[in-house]
């Protein structure tokens, strides 16, 4: 463009030409492919190797789980000419897998329990409730649910040896976590106490539990606990195992909480005590709320770990979800469906654990609860 200035001299004003479009190989789908899959020779090689791997594994997997699988609800074994999975087996065994040998006519009780429990989980995940309300709810939740499953006080009691399946796993894990959090907090506070006796006692308990596998704790609970009790007093196997799980979990939670306690600066405590607050007031209202807020994601990590760990109760003779899976796979009428049983079991465990850990991550992200 040319303009005439005041002096009448023509001035050339620089005007850039319009931008050329980006080269085809750096934008769009081709650009993405080049950047993420074929950025170098080695990368291309790796991509092809991965594609080859997927090509070899994915189609057989898909055809086994979905295309060639039997999905009918009949109570007869699957036709043998079908090469895929036999999900009929899972449908037939579904009740046993979920609630164990719980009586058929009382089935509404576990279902109601599941609905209430699931509802509380959803409320937690959606973060619609106030924190204090939520904690209170969770803390008192086991009592009515236990009553609902167990019976008593007017409604028919169901023997605990009939409990099983996913219901048992969830129950053991939920009660284990809910009971072990207060216990773990106590142990953590004891470990940081200035009293030598309390401190060494707590360190001894925490480290000796953390030093051994859960199986030995379960063995101890189921074999040794009866020996320790006064004669004539006995507790059933389920309760013994539950006590073992609570003890085990509280030692780990104590360490998690200790991490949170250490993150609280000394200045907070000094400020509180200079305001004239008593020691236990400082601990309960200044230190603990902040410390617990720090460790919520790790606590959820512990929930996931404990839920996975409850599968070990199969070794001391309880039929939890995995136990029921194993027992069903050995049913003489339905032999040869181990793969279906284990895949279903893995899927359920995965969904529950993965959603819990995603929830933990989201809390970490928002830093609120």
């Amino acid at each position: 463009m040319t303009t005439l200035s005041d002096a009448g001299i023509e001035i050339q004003v620089f005007k850039p030409m319009p931008d050329l479009p980006a080269p085809l190989e750096s934008v769009g789908i081709i650009g993405w492919l080049k950047g993420n899959l074929f950025s170098s020779k080695i990368n291309s090689l790796l991509t092809f190797a991965a594609l080859f791997f997927l090509w070899k594994t994915l189609p057989p997997l898909l055809s086994w789980t979905i295309i060639d699988a039997t999905w009918s609800f009949s109570s007869h074994p699957c036709p043998t000419e079908k090469t895929g999975a036999c999900w009929t087996f899972i449908f037939v065994k579904f009740r046993v897998l979920m609630v164990g040998l719980y009586p058929q006519e009382l089935l509404w009780r576990p279902i109601l329990t599941f609905v209430i429990f699931g509802g509380v989980c959803v409320l937690t995940a959606l973060r619609v409730l106030q924190t204090k309300l939520l904690i209170t709810l969770w803390f008192f939740l086991p009592l009515p649910l236990f009553f609902l499953i167990n019976g008593g006080m007017g409604i028919e009691t169901v023997e605990q040896s009939l409990w099983g399946g996913l219901m048992l796993s969830t129950g053991l894990a939920a009660i284990g976590i809910i009971m072990s959090i207060p216990l773990g907090i106590l142990l953590a506070l004891g470990r940081r106490s200035s009293m030598v006796v309390v401190k060494s006692l707590c360190i001894g308990i925490i480290e000796s539990i953390r030093g051994v596998p859960l199986i030995t704790i379960l063995f101890m609970a189921s074999v040794m606990l009866p020996i320790f009790l006064p004669q004539g007093m006995s507790i059933n196997n389920l309760l013994r195992v539950q006590i073992g799980i609570i003890l085990f979990s509280s030692a780990y939670i104590a360490e998690v909480v200790r991490g949170g306690l250490q993150a609280i600066s000394q200045g907070q405590i000094e400020a509180a005590s200079s305001l004239g607050l008593k020691n236990w007031t400082i601990t309960c209202f200044i230190v603990l709320p902040q410390a617990l807020r720090h460790v919520i994601p790790s606590l959820i990590g512990r929930c996931v770990a404990l839920f996975k760990d409850t599968s070990l109760v199969i070794i001391v003779g309880l039929l939890d979800f995995l136990g029921m899976i194993k027992a069903s796979a050995q049913d003489p009428d339905w032999l040869g469906y181990d793969a279906e049983a284990y895949v279903f079991c893995a899927l359920i465990y995965w969904i529950i654990c993965f959603s819990m850990s995603q929830y933990g991550k989201s809390i970490e992200h928002h830093n609120q609860w």
């Binding site: 596998p213 859960l214 004669q231 199969i314 181990d338």
Partner: protein, 370 residues
């Protein structure tokens, strides 16, 4: 005052416990003390690294269990570390497909109970493998069937000691080359390819010794006799299943540690080392790794101790580790207190040793302020 009360409560509880325990043990006719360890066990053990017969004592049977636990833990830690590093590196790869695959691996394995993984590997592996008569034979002398993996057993002949000595000399030579290269670099600034040279020394010296002694190892092959194989070196399916399950599970956790370690290194550090002209390998070795290790090692120590403890799941698939053998002993003579005390002692000792080694490593990689 409070302390005295606590001591009082503890003493009272301990006293009550002791009285109850003694009364219960008497009522159930259970002996106490470690005298049973010298009694004849009478139990067969399927996988034993040492010669063992049911006529041996309980103590020796338990010792076999300890050895088996250590064996699983040792190889498990090594394999899990190798696979874990691979997974972690794949996770931060700039290849989208590879990093997604690694992520899927980690998320699947971490969110499924280890026991289920073990059942899966054990059942599926056993079901998929053929009977001994139809064994798979990937190489000459290697057999794969549902009784285990059969390998040729090496039998040392005369001159084997010389080869062993040569291996030792090779390792020492590699160390000396490394030390010499370091000194040369410090004093003159010149570098020599010490890693390659060391590797050559480590391979070449034993190879020469091997050639001079004309291969002093004979191989005993497994042969099919009747329904099963005889001879050779056999890896039982229980062991393989336990190993595969443990390693895959722990590798997922170690992979996450490696990923977070690598990602904890500031991008600016990598860019500046590139700007200084360091090669990719050197950047990895001298810039990323030393800093990443500070994050990786403490987390991985935890995973190693978990692996040691998780090896106790062997009891579920019938590999005779310490817990499995101890459980059998409890079943025979009811002396649960003693066995559980022994379990605790051994696990704590192993885990303390693992922690000590890892703490020593951790101290070595810590940043030294100058």
């Amino acid at each position: 005052m409070l302390q005295a009360a606590v001591i009082g409560i503890i003493l009272y509880a301990a006293h009550g416990l002791l009285v109850n325990t003694q009364a219960n043990l008497e009522a159930r006719n259970i002996a106490s003390g470690f005298g049973f360890l010298s009694l004849e066990s009478g139990m067969p053990i399927s996988n034993s690294l040492l010669p063992y017969s049911p006529a041996d004592s309980y103590g020796f049977a338990f010792f076999i269990g300890i050895i088996n636990t250590l064996y699983v833990a040792f190889f498990g830690i090594i394999l899990a570390t190798l696979i874990g590093i691979l997974i972690g590196v794949a996770r931060v790869s700039n290849n989208w497909l590879i990093s997604k695959l690694a992520e899927i691996y980690v998320e699947v394995l971490r969110n499924i109970p280890l026991l289920l993984t073990l059942f899966f590997t054990y059942t599926i592996a056993l079901a998929a493998l053929p009977i001994p008569k139809k064994s798979l034979m990937p190489f000459e002398g290697f057999f794969l069937n549902n009784r285990g993996i059969y390998l040729p057993r090496p039998i040392p002949e005369s001159g084997f000691l010389i080869v062993c000595l040569a291996v030792l000399i090779g390792i020492i030579a590699a160390f000396m080359i490394h030390w010499f290269a370091k000194r040369l670099h410090r004093e003159t600034g010149r570098t020599i390819p010490s890693f390659t040279l060391g590797l050559i020394a480590m391979v070449a010296i034993p190879a020469i010794a091997w050639w001079l002694t004309r291969g002093p190892i004979a191989w005993e092959f497994a042969v099919l006799k009747g329904f099963n194989f005889q001879g050779g070196l056999v890896i039982r399916p229980e062991f393989s299943a336990l190993m595969i399950g443990l390693v895959l599970y722990t590798a997922a956790f170690i992979g996450e540690n490696v990923r977070s370690g690598i990602q904890s290194v500031d991008m600016g550090q990598i860019n500046s080392s590139k700007a200084l002209g360091l090669t990719t390998g050197l950047t990895m070795r001298k810039v990323i790794l030393p800093q990443a290790l500070r994050v990786i090692i403490p987390a991985t120590t935890n995973d190693y101790t978990s692996l040691v403890k998780n090896s106790s799941l062997a009891v579920a698939i019938g590999y005779p580790d310490m817990v499995s053998i101890g459980g059998t002993i409890i079943g025979q003579n009811d002396q649960a207190i003693e066995i559980i005390a022994m379990w605790m002692g051994v696990y704590m000792t192993i885990n303390l040793m693992v922690s000590m080694i890892m703490n020593w490593l951790n101290a070595k990689v810590q940043h030294i302020g100058r």
